[in-house]
């Protein structure tokens, strides 16, 4: 199983405050453009595709592993990964609550919020 490591607190700024406010409520929101309708990652206030304003949509929390790597050379090995969300974009994250040796690309995963040192929790994923 992936061992818990201390997760550094995300640095919250004014632009992405709504994302972290939702995270504190254990809601995973994905920024989605009010003009072109596309979701994007990492979150920003202006749609990277069309320049429109974004809204914070509740996401399904479902995705699949795009790629991953077990960081073996760490005191507590952990799994970094890109997960492609059902909503479209692929995001950098960690895989947790998993067998380090049984992961595979394409595997379905679901979101979980993991506590950070003293900031809001961050979205990570575990096998679905």
């Amino acid at each position: 199983m992936a061992v818990a490591r201390k997760i550094p607190s995300p640095i919250v700024n004014i632009e992405t405050e709504p994302f972290w406010k939702a995270a504190r409520e254990r809601r995973f929101v994905v920024p989605t453009c009010s003009t072109c309708g596309r979701a994007h990652w990492y979150p920003r206030a202006i749609c990277p595709f069309c320049g429109g304003n974004i809204a914070w949509h509740d996401a399904s929390g479902r995705g699949t592993i795009y790629t991953y790597s077990v960081m073996r050379r760490a005191k507590e090995p952990y799994v970094i990964a890109y997960v492609t969300l059902a909503e479209g974009p692929t995001m950098l994250t960690n895989l947790v609550e998993c067998d380090l040796d049984a992961l595979r690309i394409g595997q379905p995963v679901g979101v979980v919020f993991v506590e950070t040192e003293n900031g809001p929790p961050v979205p990570m994923f575990k096998p679905a």
Partner: protein, 390 residues
């Protein structure tokens, strides 16, 4: 407007040190600057253009211009493209010379991460809290090693690439490094040595990773009239390209690098094809870095890199595409964690016929240097430079 043939690399110098606890970073910059100027047969008074990147102490070029006592400057450029900077800056110098902004351009790189004990590849680092992605990436434990490892994992998934194929890249570099008296890792290794070395971040092993070293290097780029009066066989810059490749709002392919854009731009400007190139310097922070860039530059089809690099195809005198004949970052050095400078220097040595005789490519009249800066696993800069011996 083109830079083709508008500028020449007249001086190169690679610092012989790999560990410099007794020197400052500025001092190393000065030593490589003086070395490259001496190689060219020029002096600091001839320098009217200075080029540096993020490794130069202080913001921009000012502190180093003062320390180096450059008093005739009329053009400066401190474009920061990470490890690709010096490949790009050689092209920028050629462009500045073509526009008559300067006649003699000095480009320097130096650093001492080894002496400073930076755990460069395996520790997450927060560079600038204002980076807009920082909040979403830093908590994930992104390091240099696991970022590149995710590229390798995806390449293996998409194309069936194997650890043994990646290992051949290190094997080839080690065959070259054995002839370099300054190389940090001069011992020849086998595919088995690489795949049996400890895993750092799946699927990359310790021997898939480059060294951490102190040191530096410098280039002197001059206008054609000056090049003709100097003693070396002139090495002309004939093509350059650069770009940034990023995650594009969450829609990307991690098996593709910026070389897919900077490479074709450089080839188009030079008017040559990949098949014409006799020698390549390819940025080699990790074995996977080399494989992906070789594909993106068009030396083989996308996805066929594993087969292409296997069986010694990158070894000088053995394979079709001799690469990094100094041993590269994988075996020789990676000064300041920025490998672009030494990529250009070894290409110039090959074009001059000055590489070690055991690795010198016969009739080497056309060479390419490829740099990647920052992180292939997220966002990076890419620069390609094509050079020709007259």
């Amino acid at each position: 407007m083109t830079i083709k043939g508008k500028a020449y690399i007249a001086g190169v110098f690679e610092h012989p040190t790999r560990h410099a606890p007794d020197k400052s970073v500025a001092q190393l910059h000065a030593e490589v600057a003086l070395g490259a100027l001496a190689d060219a047969g020029l002096t600091r008074d001839d320098v009217d253009g200075y080029f540096c990147a993020g490794d130069a102490p202080g913001p921009g070029p000012a502190s180093m211009a003062e320390y180096l006592h450059l008093t005739k400057l009329r053009h400066v450029d401190s474009t920061e493209l990470g490890g690709a900077s010096y490949v790009a800056l050689a092209g920028h110098a050629a462009a500045a010379i073509a526009l008559d902004k300067c006649n003699v351009a000095l480009i320097t790189l130096a650093g001492r991460p080894r002496s400073e004990g930076v755990a460069t590849g395996t520790t997450p680092r927060l560079r600038d809290p204002n980076q807009p992605e920082a909040a979403f990436e830093f908590p994930c434990g992104l390091t240099t090693a696991n970022g590149y490892a995710m590229c390798a994992m995806r390449h293996m998934y998409q194309y069936g690439t194997t650890s043994e194929q990646l290992a051949w890249i290190k094997v080839a570099a080690s065959h070259h490094a054995q002839h370099n008296p300054h190389a940090m890792l001069p011992e020849v290794v086998t595919v088995a040595d690489v795949v049996n070395s400890p895993v750092i971040a799946d699927p990359l092993h310790r021997l898939d990773c480059c060294v951490i070293s102190d040191g530096g290097g410098a280039l002197v780029v001059v206008k054609p009239e000056i090049a003709k009066s100097l003693h070396w066989p002139p090495v002309r810059i004939i093509g350059a390209g650069e770009t940034v490749k990023h995650l594009a709002g969450g829609s990307f392919d991690l098996t593709i690098s910026g070389a897919a854009r900077s490479g074709p731009a450089a080839f188009a400007e030079a008017g040559v094809k990949p098949a014409d190139i006799k020698y390549v310097s390819i940025y080699d922070s990790f074995t996977i870095t080399v494989l992906i860039q070789i594909e993106d530059l068009g030396f083989c089809e996308k996805g066929m890199g594993g087969k292409f690099v296997a069986d010694g195809n990158l070894i000088s005198g053995v394979g079709k595409l001799p690469f990094n004949t100094d041993g590269g970052g994988l075996c020789n050095n990676h000064p300041a964690n920025r490998g672009g400078m030494t990529k250009v220097i070894e290409a110039v040595r090959q074009l001059r016929g000055e590489a070690h005789p055991a690795v010198q490519v016969k009739n080497c009249d056309l060479a390419l240097a490829q740099g990647t800066g920052m992180q292939l696993g997220t966002r990076h800069c890419s620069a390609t430079l094509i050079m020709e011996r007259e």
